[in-house]
């Protein structure tokens, strides 16, 4: 009993050793703003996160984000886009876990209300959707691109989330 009492005293001493009230630690924020939207955005970069408007889950491994069946991204129009047009490029991965269950997936995109030609993806792995955008579409400083997959994993099929593709980057490149 004496040993246990001593141990209990040690417990109390250990707690007391930390007992001086310390001010809460300061966690600094990043205040330097990037005032303009970017034309090239990386899904893993928190600085671009605001442009991944809808249908995206959390950043994973600091590099990519899972999407739902529908997702949208806002991109800054590159310089001269209203005169020469631009190239839209979405880099993503079509995971084996998805395509094995869904079969080939067709991705369509609508840019500020203008439908772009859809594309069918039949193999798993890294993919690129690339489309030429005519100048007439660029009427403001930025555009919103809504992507839709014809097939995706419904919530509960593999995990609790609805799963589409894994997006890495999106870009509007000047011509």
């Amino acid at each position: 009993m004496r040993r246990l009492t001593l141990l209990f005293a040690a417990v109390v001493v250990l707690s007391a050793a930390t007992s001086c009230k310390r001010p809460p630690a300061k966690v600094e924020t990043i205040e330097a703003e990037q005032p303009e939207l970017a034309s090239v955005v990386s899904a893993g970069d928190p600085a671009h996160a605001v442009q991944f408007v809808q249908g995206f889950y959390d950043i994973e491994q600091g590099a990519w984000r899972w999407t739902r069946g529908k997702f949208s991204i806002t991109l800054q129009a590159p310089g001269g886009a209203a005169q020469k047009g631009a190239t839209l490029e979405l880099k993503f991965v079509l995971p084996g876990a998805v395509i094995q269950k869904t079969g080939p997936v067709t991705m369509s995109a609508v840019l500020d209300g203008n439908a772009l030609p859809p594309e069918k993806f039949e193999k798993e792995g890294a993919q690129v959707l690339r489309r030429e955008i005519p100048p007439a579409i660029f009427r403001g400083p930025s555009v919103n691109v809504e992507f839709t997959l014809d097939k995706f994993l419904a919530a509960g099929a593999v995990e609790e989330r609805e799963l589409g593709v894994i997006v890495q980057t999106a870009a509007l490149m000047a011509k």
């Binding site: 417990v11 442009q51 959390d58 919103n144 989330r161």
Partner: protein
């Protein structure tokens, strides 16, 4: 000699425990921790203190020592400095290891068993959560009380000293303040005396009466859940649940979820079978020699896991934290016996111990590391918001990109009130990227309305921070550019009547917001965003002070889009009320619905001058 040997074993076990769970010592707060930490914020009088300490809380729990007094006292002393909280958890666990060494030595008469029991228990994967999440301190402290009471029992049976018998009672009764599981202690005590010291058996019986009285009191204070995860199912599912916990007690089955070599994962899957076979063989050998005490560690496991077996839909690995103590004693006992037997016995003992330690401890470590990282992410978010408030006093703080994990671990339990920092919201649309978990809460309740967002940004009354990275990043200007182009000033389908941010959606008949609520007069109007799908229900939530019911129940009529619903009766004084109404499928307007509330009478409190109907909190459209 005994003392120094005991001390060496305790130091070795403590070192092992500290090494394995080290990140848990540095963990911060998360989830329920914030609810417990805020418990003392509304305590100003003795009755309020009594209520805060002893009134049944979540799922009917009454745990003053391990939760309420612990969190309230430590918050008063240390605020949001997590280290003292974690230090107490670790110190308590080291005390448990000391008790376990002493008890195992007395049960088995083996120093080798006494050396390995605390190692085996400390390595158990089920301890991962209690050693890294402060809200699970109840598991660690309950183990202390159970082990403490049993230690006293052993000393009493050895010495026949009344002092130890009384000490056992005191520890046992105090144990009810840590966890409901304490109710099983009489089974543990009676089983031991039956198996090893029968003349003491009769004096353990009165403890059953104490447990029964506690169980009745608990049942009276906290009625059993009839549905949901905490509903109890007394059917054949109990056996499946028992098998799950038994298998899980060896930890290795969860190795498959970690990034480990496939061969180790395979060993982990085989571990419950191999180790069960080993323990079973040991038990059979002992029983053949009429050494009945070998059953006692199994009784411990079954008695302590027993109360959670009817929780078919709420299987939690950490519920094995205390039951696995029994298996640790049994395993260490078997190890010591095999080691003493012969060379094959030694080999079998080493292989079995290696299988267990190499498959269970990595899972424990992974759980601790996960909770450490998660809690640190919550810390950066919460303290980052405190910093934002310093930088931008008086402005609405909008957080963008808060993901599922950070929301449920760090925002749902309202940590900002502890700083205290108010007016912290999620940006409109955030609810789309956060997984809905209706059992835990409503993401929509934290989302700032689009129209109010646009207005606050325009008037320079809000700042927006991106929360998807490790540090909060000011994106006010970028977000404003985006919002002006993309954000539609649609009406949200949920409002907090007591929050001025939603006052746009309140029509005639309301008074000023006060204390998170807003009083209506006799008739009041609300406007909500139209439901996206048919079959929606309107949920209204409010509060009715006793003064409103002095003349009898109040009748509340709700009109949705001019269509009346049958009146509902508000008759519970000083309680929150919640009512549901079906939203008509044919709506007059595609964008919003009009709701009219009407009570059959109002009350004018002396000296107030207002005619008060009911106080409302939230209006929510629930879409199927």
């Amino acid at each position: 000699m005994h003392r120094s040997r005991f001390l060496i074993l305790w130091l070795v076990a403590s070192l092992f425990c500290l090494t394995l769970y080290w990140p848990g010592l540095k963990a911060w707060f998360q989830q329920d921790d914030f609810a417990w930490l805020s418990l003392g914020m509304n305590v100003h009088t003795a009755p309020e203190l009594w209520n805060a300490l002893f009134a049944p809380k979540a799922q009917g729990t009454i745990r003053p020592w391990s939760e309420r007094a612990f969190f309230m006292g430590f918050f008063a002393l240390f605020g949001l400095d997590a280290l003292p909280y974690r230090a107490l958890v670790f110190a308590t666990q080291l005390l448990n290891l000391a008790l376990l060494i002493s008890i195992t030595r007395r049960l088995t008469a083996s120093w080798l068993a006494a050396a390995f029991a605390p190692i085996f228990w400390a390595a158990n994967a089920s301890l991962g959560l209690p050693m890294s999440w402060t809200s699970a301190y109840n598991q660690i402290l309950c183990a202390t009380f159970l082990l403490g009471a049993f230690y006293c029992l052993l000393r009493w049976t050895e010495s026949d000293s009344a002092r130890w018998y009384v000490a056992q009672w005191v520890v046992f009764l105090l144990g009810f303040g840590t966890l409901e599981l304490n109710v099983v202690y009489p089974v543990i005590a009676a089983a031991y005396t039956l198996l090893a010291s029968r003349r003491h058996f009769a004096r353990t019986i009165p403890m059953f009466a104490a447990s029964a009285a506690y169980a009745l009191l608990h049942r009276w204070l906290a009625p059993r859940a009839r549905e949901g995860p905490y509903a109890m199912h007394f059917d054949s599912s109990i056996w499946t649940t028992l098998a799950t916990y038994w298998s899980d007690a060896f930890g290795g089955t969860r190795l498959a979820a970690l990034e480990v070599p496939p061969w180790l994962s395979a060993i982990g899957l085989a571990a419950p079978w191999v180790l069960s076979l080993g323990l079973g063989t040991f038990i059979v050998f002992r029983l053949r020699n009429r050494q009945w005490l070998v059953i006692w560690p199994l009784v411990w496991f079954l008695a302590v896991i027993g109360p959670v077996l009817p929780l078919r839909d709420h299987i939690s690995s950490y519920y094995n934290a205390i039951p696995s103590l029994g298996l640790a004693i049994l395993g260490a006992w078997a190890f010591a016996a095999a080691w003493r037997a012969n060379l094959p016995g030694k080999a079998a003992a080493v292989i079995a111990a290696a299988i267990y330690l190499s498959t269970s401890s990595p899972v424990a470590r992974a759980i601790v590391s996960y909770n450490f990282e998660r809690s640190r992410a919550v810390r950066d978010l919460v303290l980052g918001v405190a910093r934002i408030r310093e930088l931008h006093p008086g402005k609405v703080i909008l957080l963008n990109g808060v993901g599922t994990d950070r929301f449920w671990a760090g925002i749902n339990d309202k940590p900002f009130r502890l700083l205290p920092v108010g007016d912290v919201w999620l940006t409109p649309g955030s609810e789309d990227s956060i997984q809905a978990l209706p059992d835990l809460g409503d993401v929509g309740a934290f989302v700032y309305p689009p129209a109010a967002t646009l207005r606050a940004l325009r008037q320079n009354q809000a700042v927006v921070y991106e929360a998807s990275g490790p540090r909060l990043r000011n994106i006010t200007q970028t977000y404003q550019n985006m919002a002006q182009l993309r954000l539609k000033a649609t009406l949200p389908s949920r409002i907090d009547a007591g929050n001025p941010a939603f006052s746009d959606q309140l029509g005639k008949g309301w008074y000023e917001a006060e204390g998170g609520y807003r009083w209506m007069g006799k008739r009041a109007e609300v406007r909500l965003g139209a439901p996206s799908r048919p079959g929606s229900r309107l949920q209204i939530q409010g509060f009715c002070p006793a003064s409103q019911l002095l003349a009898g129940p109040l009748h509340l009529k709700v009109f949705i889009d001019n269509k009346p619903n049958p009146a509902v009766v508000v008759n519970r004084a000083d309680e929150e009320f919640v009512f549901f109404f079906l939203v008509p499928e044919q709506l007059k307007n595609n964008d919003f619905i009009e709701i009219v509330l009407e009570v059959d009478r109002t009350v004018t409190p002396p000296g107030d001058g207002r005619s008060l109907g009911l106080a409302f909190g939230s209006f929510t459209l629930r879409t199927p």
